[in-house]
């Protein structure tokens, strides 16, 4: 006996029903989980899923946490559409932040409107350059880009550490591994006074819009989709796989690099040995959660941010243990993917024994 997945007829309702069902299942499971932990389940669920949406401050924090995820995922999704697997956005983010930080430190304590734009340009160039390495290796030697892009993440992280433990260390910082705090001209403007919501959130939205336009309305977007879905047809049509690989990596790397500059010049304000809590990796989940479509990605990034902030909230106000917040986040992701899969596909048990199944 074996399992088979059979595609159900497509329905426009799936996109709406699946997430609603997933949330309902998560709430039900969370209720049981919190009850078993001896907490007030209604209060805990409220603190986790709704309280972050009720204050202005925490809404802006959704933007702070979600913006880098959305920006990176938008860039990565273009490559994933084309079956180009850039797993190294984390490293491209770090190199972008280093490039931006280098500019900020070179012009430390100087004023000038051009410093910030120069930093952002440097970060995009840095991210692209780092992503160009796996792109080159793949197109020239056919090296698997999953391995090279992932391994380069660790190289990037070590370069950052070399700099902040060495030449870029704050001379007045008691030998602690961090750079000087960036001066005013090198910091991102805050969108709303009194919050941490910075211009990067706006850029992330614009990038999603632009990506949507390119993918849905331009020939380039069509080429990318065809190379991903039907490589043979793409070759027949004369679309270049090589070009698509380069484009995917440069866009993904540039977006990740820019996100790095936004983190360094935004909420952090300096370079430190560990710049991100894994945004480059979480963005891969966000990209697939958003089904590789820019609007979906923005929603998925906001949802991820909500579960992080809600998790902190539940710890502070309801006394939920941190491990339980992780379980809750995991359940939400699991149900989202499961409902989506099971609505689209039906599991069928077939009587036919496959040769593999017959073996002990």
């Amino acid at each position: 006996m074996r399992l088979e997945l059979v595609r159900r007829p497509e329905s426009p309702w799936f996109g709406i029903v699946a997430p609603l069902l997933a949330v309902a299942l998560t709430v039900a499971s969370g209720f049981v989980l919190f009850l078993a932990l001896g907490l007030d389940p209604v209060e805990t669920l409220y603190q986790f899923m709704l309280a972050p949406l009720t204050t202005f401050q925490s809404l802006t924090e959704l933007g702070v946490k979600g913006a880098p995820l959305a920006l990176i995922a938008t860039g990565l999704a273009i490559g994933f559409r084309a079956n180009v697997w850039n797993i190294g956005a984390e490293g491209q983010l770090i190199i972008g932040a280093i490039a931006a930080g280098g500019v900020a430190l070179a012009f430390w304590n100087e004023a000038g409107w051009w410093i910030l734009p120069l930093m952002l340009a440097a970060s995009v160039a840095g991210g692209m350059a780092w992503a160009a390495i796996p792109a080159f290796l793949k197109t020239r030697f056919g090296v698997n880009e999953i391995l090279t892009s992932l391994m380069l993440t660790y190289v990037a992280s070590l370069i950052l550490q070399m700099l902040v433990f060495g030449p870029w260390k704050d001379p007045d910082g008691f030998n602690y591994p961090q750079t000087r705090l960036f001066s005013e001209a090198a910091l991102l403007p805050v969108l709303i006074e009194g919050t941490r919501l910075h211009a990067g959130a706006l850029v992330a939205l614009l990038a999603a819009l632009a990506a949507w336009f390119v993918m849905a309305r331009t020939v380039t977007g069509f080429e990318i989709a065809v190379v991903g879905d039907a490589p043979q047809a793409a070759r027949f049509a004369g679309f270049s796989t090589r070009r698509t690989v380069w484009l995917s990596f440069l866009v993904g790397g540039g977006a990740a690099g820019l996100a790095g500059a936004f983190e360094a010049a935004g909420p952090i304000g300096q370079l430190v040995p560990v710049l991100t809590p894994g945004y480059g990796f979480t963005a891969i989940i966000v990209a697939f959660l958003g089904r590789l479509s820019p609007p979906g990605i923005v929603a998925a990034a906001a949802l991820m941010a909500l579960t992080y902030i809600g998790g902190e909230n539940a710890q502070i106000t309801a006394g939920l243990p941190q491990a339980a917040t992780g379980v809750f986040q995991g359940m939400l992701l699991f149900y989202l993917l499961a409902t989506d899969g099971l609505l689209r596909f039906r599991i069928r048990l077939t009587g036919a024994r496959s040769p593999r199944a017959a073996q002990p």
Partner: protein, 363 residues
């Protein structure tokens, strides 16, 4: 809280500067006389690390036990250093916590930034160097305990090679390695310490791998400045000796665990909470060690010979009494240059900036 309202005016007017902040806080709080003081703790690791964050959490529990319903204590664990920590600290302040302990170096800038927005909230930041009117700082002289560990290592090691699993090359860790080796060389002049840097405070997998590599390289004693018991468990399995980190970890390695430096934050936390409750808190810089009981040594392994215990106790007691300086000169660095001249010792200010390793450390 009611005794604050009865404070004579003259006493209150004595409280200046930062103290006024606390007094204002206390003043506003008297309106809600029965309300407990809310105290928040932010931990970098999980409380289940059995190490650093666990030790802070024991301090939190001591506060709860001491003050009962006069305080309401919450904590947030496993908080990323960086932007996430700023949000958590701000959330704690917004949720009405009047006193917030942020317990890791990487929370320094975030703590200072949030403190600016909440001048009436009292903040205490561990192991950093930035202060403000409403931000006090505190730290432990962990290196004093490391001198005791070094003494024991020098006496039990047969190969004369000690492996050291270290986190980040920051002053706190570097001074610990140096104090360890200097003490060890007093009892075994040819001893060397081999360091592996993990660039992480808590990563059991990497910690175990490092310990394996060090033992393969000839080390028969493993010291660590990372937070999980993983390296010690490797030592237990491989027949080497080890020391616990931040709390008594003997249950993870009953044979290998010789002793541990126990971080006991309870006396400090109780004192600071009491000061805030009394309206007498002011921004301070506290660096306590063996003398004040902020660090102490866990019970020795039953297998440790009496002679070695005596020598370790003597080092411990002499440091606590101030008659033994762990960094008494002459001290040379790895290149052989004299860093501390004979007859001298190092100032606290220079110690807090230490970025050189002593002769005999391989890293």
């Amino acid at each position: 809280m009611s005794e604050i309202t009865s404070l004579p005016l003259s006493r209150r007017s004595l409280i200046v500067g930062a103290g006024a902040t606390a007094a204002m806080l206390a003043g506003t709080r008297t309106g809600l006389a029965a309300d407990p003081l809310k105290v928040g703790f932010v931990y970098v690791g999980p409380i289940g690390d059995h190490g650093y964050s666990y030790s802070h959490d024991l301090g939190r529990k001591a506060v709860e036990a001491e003050f009962g319903d006069r305080v309401k204590v919450t904590f947030v664990e496993n908080v990323n250093e960086g932007p996430d920590s700023e949000r958590v600290i701000r959330q704690l302040a917004t949720a009405g916590n009047g006193l917030i302990f942020s317990t890791s170096f990487g929370f320094m800038q975030p703590t200072i930034r949030v403190a600016r927005q909440f001048p009436k909230v009292v903040f205490e930041h561990a192991t950093g160097y930035m202060r403000a009117d409403n931000v006090g700082i505190y730290n432990g002289r962990f290196y004093e305990g490391r001198a005791v560990l070094g003494t024991i290592a020098g006496l039990v090691s047969k190969t004369g090679s000690v492996g050291y699993v270290a986190s980040f090359p920051i002053p706190e860790v570097i001074m610990g390695i140096n104090a360890f080796l200097l003490a060890a060389r007093k009892v075994r002049p040819d001893l060397t310490v081999k360091v592996i840097w993990l660039n992480s405070w808590y990563d059991p997998g990497k910690e175990a791998d490092a310990a394996k590599a060090l033992i393969d390289g000839g080390a028969d004693v493993i010291a660590q400045h990372v937070d999980s018991p993983a390296a010690m468990q490797v030592a237990e399995a491989r027949g080497a000796y080890a020391f616990g980190q931040a709390s008594d970890m003997s249950r993870f390695a009953p044979r290998a665990h010789l002793t541990a430096i126990v971080y006991d934050w309870a006396p400090y936390y109780k004192e600071r909470v009491k000061l805030v409750l009394d309206g007498a808190w002011k921004s301070d810089d506290t660096w306590w060690g063996l003398k004040e009981g902020l660090i102490r040594m866990a019970p020795y392994n039953p297998s440790l010979p009496e002679e070695i215990r005596k020598q370790a106790d003597a080092v411990r007691d002499a440091i606590a009494a101030g008659t033994l300086q762990p960094f008494a000169g002459p001290v040379k660095d790895q290149k052989g240059a004299v860093r501390i001249a004979a007859g001298e010792t190092i100032s606290d200010a220079d110690l807090l900036k230490m970025d050189w390793l002593v002769e005999g450390v391989q890293s």
